[in-house]
């Protein structure tokens, strides 16, 4: 565990991407199997010990130290694993030697719900602070140390001088501790054959359209739908659905997987059909009812039927189409789409616009809740993984904004621990002069610069009027301009509305709180048709 603990500590204190890559590459090259494989699984979030949940860690520490002191410490540190690693009391009497990564993994994996606590405690007793931190990160599966799965895979490619695209492609056919992958990378074995395994292929992504003027002779336009990007892979009779990060979400959408009966790999947007929209796509709000579920009941499938709006085709049967230009792939996609069950699959239609100006006008007019903006795709673009410049653009709708008043703040986690960075803001029920009061309308954690964060943190500290555990209530004097993508009705919030993706767009120190917006103003922004997917059943 020593070497892995040192790796995590070094990664935390290394800011440059190249520095992190070098540390990771060196670790993967020099540490033997299977330790390095388990470490790689931890870094890519591919490790899961069902018996070890974050709750167990909290229970354990509260059995050993004063729970109040733990809670105060946790609030200060902003990270449970780190707090526990710092507070864990030294065991009485002799302890066994510190466990290695593989030994720890074996013990954690063999733990049951009944023994999870004692297994974890036994391991913590054998480690020092850094070791405990690494173990807890490993055991609970949430590293949060500024290393993405993509970065870890890039480091793997760098360390063994192989192409990262090859690593990505093999990745989803491999299981921790990736013995085959290391064997191939070190030259000890040939490349694993994955032709009969349904694996994820990296998505082609779009860059935001900034000032570029687009010639529609070179670019095709289609709507950007507000669902989740999905890849459907079917090979050898097995169908898998992957989310943008390559996570297998088949279990949440068995209806879609079952309806797919064509071998190949398709790219599309997963949406939920709203009966209230006359069978049209419902808002993201409705889709959320289906996300993240391990099993799906019949009524959920009936109430929120999922379907896929197809964007692209990567493989048709075993034939790889990714090296064909978009226009040729589009023809193949239209042919395949025609073969599929129309209740579960349709094709994302192209927008017919004569000129860029006409397209811009159509984008402004589009206010359906399921449209996020416009996509522009170069007609001759190959299907390139990642975000290559100049090929695909996303042109989002202008966000909506409202002036809200800061009401409560809470300290953030991780990089923002110790800083008040989560803000709850409200709008008036009626003008203040007429006796209106502020009700919370949303919460935002982003949109501000580091400088603005410092200022906001200091504002919260100076203007605190009440404390509720970790939450501080502040003097209702600061106006924040909040940007958001849509307003949905909500039965969960007292204000009756919920913002979609709110973020702080500006701090309006110039504006008095009494001039912030009314809740009614927000209510009027609820897009036509959205009212009906109020999720009153939840």
């Amino acid at each position: 565990m020593d070497r892995f603990a040192r790796l995590l500590t070094d990664l935390i204190y290394t800011r440059s991407r190249n520095g992190k890559l070098a540390l990771l590459a060196d670790y993967l090259r020099t540490v033997p199997d299977p330790d390095r494989g388990w470490a790689l699984a931890a870094l890519t979030g591919e490790i899961d010990f069902p018996a070890i949940k974050a709750g167990i860690v909290r229970t354990l520490i509260q059995e050993r130290v004063d729970p109040v002191l733990f809670a105060l410490s946790r609030d200060f540190v902003g990270d449970t694993a780190e707090t526990v690693s710092l507070m864990w009391p030294a065991p009485q009497g002799p302890v066994r030697a510190a466990p290695g990564v593989s030994e720890a993994v074996a013990l954690l994996a063999s733990a049951s719900r009944g023994t999870g606590k004692s297994v974890l405690a036994g391991l913590l007793d054998r480690l020092d602070e850094d070791g405990r931190f690494a173990l807890l990160k490993l055991a609970t599966g949430a590293l949060r140390i500024g290393v993405s799965a993509r970065l870890a895979k890039t480091a793997f490619a760098l360390g063994f001088d192989v192409a990262v695209e090859e690593v990505e492609e093999l990745w989803h056919a491999m299981r921790p501790p990736y013995a085959e992958l290391f064997a191939w990378a070190t030259g000890a074995a040939p490349k694993p054959d994955i032709s009969m395994v349904p694996v994820f292929r990296p998505f082609m992504l779009a860059n935001p359209l900034e000032d570029e003027e687009i010639d529609l002779r070179d670019y095709a336009a289609e709507w950007k739908w507000d669902g989740i990007r999905i890849q459907i892979v079917s090979v050898g009779g097995a169908t898998r659905l992957f989310s943008r990060g390559g996570e297998d979400i088949t279990a949440s959408f068995p209806d879609v997987a079952e309806a797919f009966d064509h071998e190949g790999v398709l790219d599309g947007e997963l949406l939920v059909r709203g009966t209230h929209q006359g069978g049209e796509a419902a808002s993201f709000n409705a889709l959320q009812q289906r996300l993240g579920r391990k099993t799906v009941s019949g009524s959920l499938k009936a109430d929120y039927p999922a379907f896929v709006r197809l964007y692209d085709i990567l493989l048709d049967g075993a034939e790889d189409l990714r090296r064909l230009p978009w226009s040729e792939r589009r023809v193949r996609l239209e042919r395949v789409a025609g073969l599929l069950d129309p209740s579960a699959f349709d094709i994302s239609a192209l927008i017919e616009a004569e000129t860029f100006e006409a397209l811009a006008e159509m984008r402004v007019q589009a206010r359906e809740t399921d449209i996020e903006g416009v996509m522009l795709k170069r007609r001759d673009s190959l299907y390139e993984p990642g975000r290559k410049a100049g090929l695909w653009f996303k042109w989002k709708r202008e966000p909506l904004t409202a002036d809200c008043v800061l009401m409560y703040a809470q300290q953030g986690s991780g990089k923002r621990s110790g800083l008040y960075s989560d803000y709850t803001f409200g709008c008036w029920t009626a003008p203040e002069a007429e006796g209106g009061v502020l009700l919370p309308v949303g919460k935002a954690y982003s949109g501000f610069s580091d400088e603005e964060l410092k200022w906001l943190d200091s504002f919260v500290r100076k203007q605190t009027t009440g404390r509720f555990g970790p939450v501080r209530e502040v003097e209702k004097s600061l106006v924040l301009e909040v940007a958001f993508d849509a307003v949905n009705p909500s039965t969960r919030h007292k204000s009756g509305i919920a913002m979609r993706f709110p973020r702080i767009s500006r701090i309006r120190r110039d504006k008095p709180a009494s001039e912030a917006d009314l809740i009614d103003t927000l209510r009027r922004m609820i897009a036509a048709g959205a009212k009906a997917d109020d999720t009153s059943k939840v």
Partner: protein, 339 residues
């Protein structure tokens, strides 16, 4: 709660500091007053503009350097007792925090109150150690009053600093350390560990280091960074205020390794927030175990807690039936860098 004595009427905790209302004197006031007793020279305890300032000679020198000479008052030696009126006496005792730092023991008709100012219990080559002294009311700081704070031995941190230098001969080691106290302690500990090379100073450090030397603290060969081409500082140790770490000034050094010497470095995310590559857990305050041990050792009737994480220490006292209260003093929250 055990039944304790009535709080003496001759001391009051005000927002601006501790007040002795019968004579109008203050201890570490945050605004200019006529008569001040000052525990030590850090800006959240000492400030300019007072009429009379009574403090140790070193603290008065520091005030002199930072704010100009006080109008009146005088030096008080460790162990010396002065009468300040209304039968109140003040005795200055070592606090072990920085050069000149003192606890102030206030006595009146048998009642004893200790104002610790800031203090630590570890050995420090730049100042005499804290003297635990029995009293009725202990007024303690609580900067690191959370159980996550246990400071490692300073020898370990100095060894890490020297190892980083050894491993990076092409880079300067830039140590952010508060200009009063921390900087000189780090230098003195480097000397104790046998490091005899010149240590380079940011301009803001020089005067305070000279002041320390005048008070008999030997710091070995020092030189201002301005006296050399900065590119030549590869493999050298440079000390600067924490605020200079990410400045234009620092960028001219050869690929500097940012180090910070502070108790806050115990928490990784704190270190990461300050853009630190080499966090050195070196504090001039008590850690959690030392704070709680001091309360048990001094065993006052009542403990008053000033700036810091007072919630945790109050809870700890409550669990042990120790009478305690938190004071709400202004201006004591933002001196993080000095810790």
């Amino acid at each position: 709660m055990p039944i304790g004595p009535e709080t003496p009427r001759w001391i009051k905790a005000e927002r601006e500091g501790l007040h002795l209302p019968t004579i109008g004197w203050w201890i570490d006031p945050s605004r200019a007053v006529a008569n001040a007793l000052v525990t030590h020279g850090h800006a959240d305890h000492a400030r300019g503009g007072h009429g009379e300032v009574w403090a140790t000679a070193a603290t008065r020198d520091i005030i002199d350097l930072r704010y100009g000479t006080p109008a009146g008052g005088g030096d008080v030696a460790y162990g010396e007792c002065i009468e300040i009126g209304d039968s109140i006496t003040a005795t200055f005792l070592p606090a072990g925090h920085v050069l000149g730092s003192a606890q102030i023991l206030l006595e009146r008709q048998g009642e004893r109150i200790i104002v610790t100012g800031d203090y630590k219990r570890r050995a420090d080559p730049t100042c005499p150690p804290f003297v635990p002294t029995p009293c009725d009311i202990l007024i303690t700081e609580a900067t690191f009053a959370l159980p996550i704070f246990t400071h490692p031995p300073i020898e370990r941190e100095i060894a890490r600093l020297l190892a980083a230098r050894e491993a990076n001969p092409e880079r300067a080691i830039l140590v952010g350390a508060y200009a009063l106290g921390k900087a000189q302690r780090v230098i003195a500990e480097l000397r104790r560990a046998g490091y005899a090379e010149t240590i380079w100073l940011h301009g803001a450090m020089t005067a305070m280091c000279l002041l320390y030397e005048r008070h008999g603290v030997a710091l070995g060969p020092l030189a201002p960074v301005s006296e050399t081409a900065r590119g030549e500082l590869k493999g050298e140790i440079v000390i600067c205020p924490p605020s200079a770490l990410n400045s234009v000034w620092a960028r001219k050094l050869p690929d500097p390794i940012n180090a910070v010497a502070s108790g806050w470095m115990r928490v990784r995310q704190r270190a990461v927030q300050s853009n630190v590559e080499l966090p050195l857990i070196i504090s001039d305050h008590c850690d959690w175990n030392e704070l709680t041990a001091t309360i048990l050792e001094v065993a006052p009737q009542e403990t008053w807690i000033t700036h810091g994480r007072e919630d945790a220490l109050l809870h700890w006292c409550a669990m042990r039936q120790i009478r305690a209260r938190a004071l709400d003093l202004v201006g004591r929250e933002d001196e993080d860098e000095a810790a």
